[in-house]
Amino acid sequence: MSAQTEEVTAAVPAPRTGKGGAPPLAGGRRRAGTAVPYLLILPTVALTVLLLGWTMVKNGLLSFQELNRRQLIRHVTEWIGFDNYSEVLGSSEFWSVTGRSVVFTAVNVVLIMTAGCLTGLLLARLGTKLRLLLSLGLVLAWAMPVVAATTVFQWLFDQRFGVVNYLLDALGWHSMAGYSWTGDQLSTFFVITVLIVWQSVPFVAINLYAATTTIPKELYEAAALDGAGSWKQFTSVTFPFLRPFFLATAFLEVIWVFKSFTQVFAINEGGPDRLTETLPVYAFQEGMGSQHFGMGAAISILTIVILLALTAYYLRLVLKQEEDEL
């Protein structure tokens, strides 16, 4: 939704004339008005600094401390410099979790964007009735709360009475009858991926469809007059028009998938044998589970750094765009 809004505001070149453009704001009014925007953003800034900014700082501070169960109970602070970091960065476990998280994110985002865009373009082609039907299905999946969806997918993939195993068996893959999906690393990831893709495609599809409706019909007519076929129309009109939207959505999906905790944790708690722990779950298990809070904080800082690195390209794009707008 936010991506769509960004799209719309970006697509409509609103004449940002600023306060100078408003004639009634003349003379002394203007000077008195300089404090107004700051007062308006003050509550937002204050809350964000207090509850997000300070937490970030706190997270950083914790990552330099030896903070286990003992220190927690006695309320002592033991500074240990970069020890947590060197320990984390030196462990092969951390790097395998990192690699796993990156691959997991890449696979999910590619699947989501491909399926989402195809579904969105399909929506644009359908007649009213079928479009309504498909939209209904998409909206149902989109609206399904994450935690509820997780329990439902556990039920769908249940070993004995799950529908998925029944269908696979009925379709001729008999070894899948009674298959335990959570018993193996890859199959657990498969369930998590199906769940995440199922939940995320509607967002991409519906917003992409909404974006196609804002493409001026004249563009297609002009392209048709120039003799462009449907593929040429897609590449020369639809795709360029949807590109910023596509980038914004892919960027959001990278963030969402990379930091998804609930799905990964609730499906199998990172199991079997901690083999499906992605970075957020890993930080949680190390920090809260093993009560190595300082270590967990260090992992979470590293996770944030990795997330920043993954999204750096788009972030820079957004920053530049915002700069150009002013």
């Binding site: 509850l51 935690v147 129309q233 609730a266």
Partner: protein, 286 residues
């Protein structure tokens, strides 16, 4: 010429071109709707139909037993009350605060405006799930574990950046001329906002609050860590612990999931079309 090109684009050229989009749409509908359907179907089915080697596709002898068991589970109404409390506080508070900020950002020029937007964008992608340990320490040091207040406050900030950025788009989409003409007619800027912009923002406010509502209603890691006592827990925890408590009682688990999902599903289906409608019509007007 023009017509035939448009026809080709909408795929009504050949029989195959007409059939496959429809067929795909139906298949996709089933794929997306089935898990939701299966949740409700299982919730209403009798136990012998749930644990059957061949799935029973429709609840032929529907029963409310599972719902009774779910609702009578320990502390259900406490969880409901807690969830509603934190959701309403967080969404309401963030909406009020964000409206002020989004108006400033969309309509005024001031030094730091750009930085503010950038900070909001960064804040929007803040990995809350990853920072739970720091939140745990802060709330613990304040001696406020197992309480709803820190939870509501954190949730407010969690949905705030999204709310600001989204509302900014909606405010910017309201033609400036409307506001200006109201001011020419003698309204103050504040009056112009309340009388002209605010009513036009209604779909945007609804859409935004809907997404805030979903975020908070769903939130799991934070409450998992902060509130270990059941008296201060919310529905997501109740639901995830449900399967453990009830063993493999899929009927009751699905009934619980249904109860949890229904408010969101209803709100979403009603509001989503309005939201997208408001969005696109706003864009066309702008």
């Amino acid at each position: 010429m023009r017509r035939s090109a448009l026809d080709r684009r909408t795929g009504s050229g050949s029989l195959l071109g007409r059939v496959w989009p429809g067929a795909t749409a139906v298949v996709l509908f089933i794929v997306f709707a089935f898990p939701v359907y299966w949740m409700f179907a299982t919730a209403f089915k009798a136990n012998r139909d749930i644990v059957s080697d061949t799935p029973v596709w429709f609840p032929t002898s529907p029963t409310l037993d599972h719902f009774t068991r779910a609702v009578e589970a320990d502390g259900f109404w406490t969880f409901v009350g807690n969830s509603l409390t934190v959701t309403v506080i967080a969404v309401g508070l963030s909406l009020v605060i964000a409206l002020l900020a989004s108006f400033a950002v969309a309509r005024m020029r001031f030094r730091g405006r750009k930085s503010f937007i950038l900070v909001m964008m960064m804040a929007q992608m803040a990995p809350w799930e990853v920072m739970v340990i720091a939140y745990y320490m802060i709330v613990r040091d304040a001696d406020m574990l197992n309480s709803l207040a820190p939870l509501a406050a954190i949730y407010t900030v969690m949905v705030l950046p999204f709310t600001v950025l989204t509302l900014r788009g909606y405010v910017a989409a309201v033609p400036k001329e409307l506001e200006e003409s109201a001011m020419v007619d003698g309204c103050t800027r504040f009056q112009a906002f309340v009388r002209v912009i605010f009513p036009l923002l209604a779909p945007g406010v609804m859409a935004t609050s809907l997404f805030g509502f979903i975020t908070v209603w769903n939130e799991f890691p934070m409450v998992l860590i902060l509130n270990k006592e059941t008296g201060a827990q919310t529905l997501p925890l109740w639901l995830t612990s449900f399967r453990t408590t009830f063993g493999d009682d899929w009927g009751a688990t699905m009934a619980a999931s249904s109860l949890f999902a229904v408010p969101i599903l209803i709100l979403f289906v009603i509001l989503q079309r309005k939201a997208v409608g408001g969005l696109t019509s706003g864009a066309v007007k702008g």
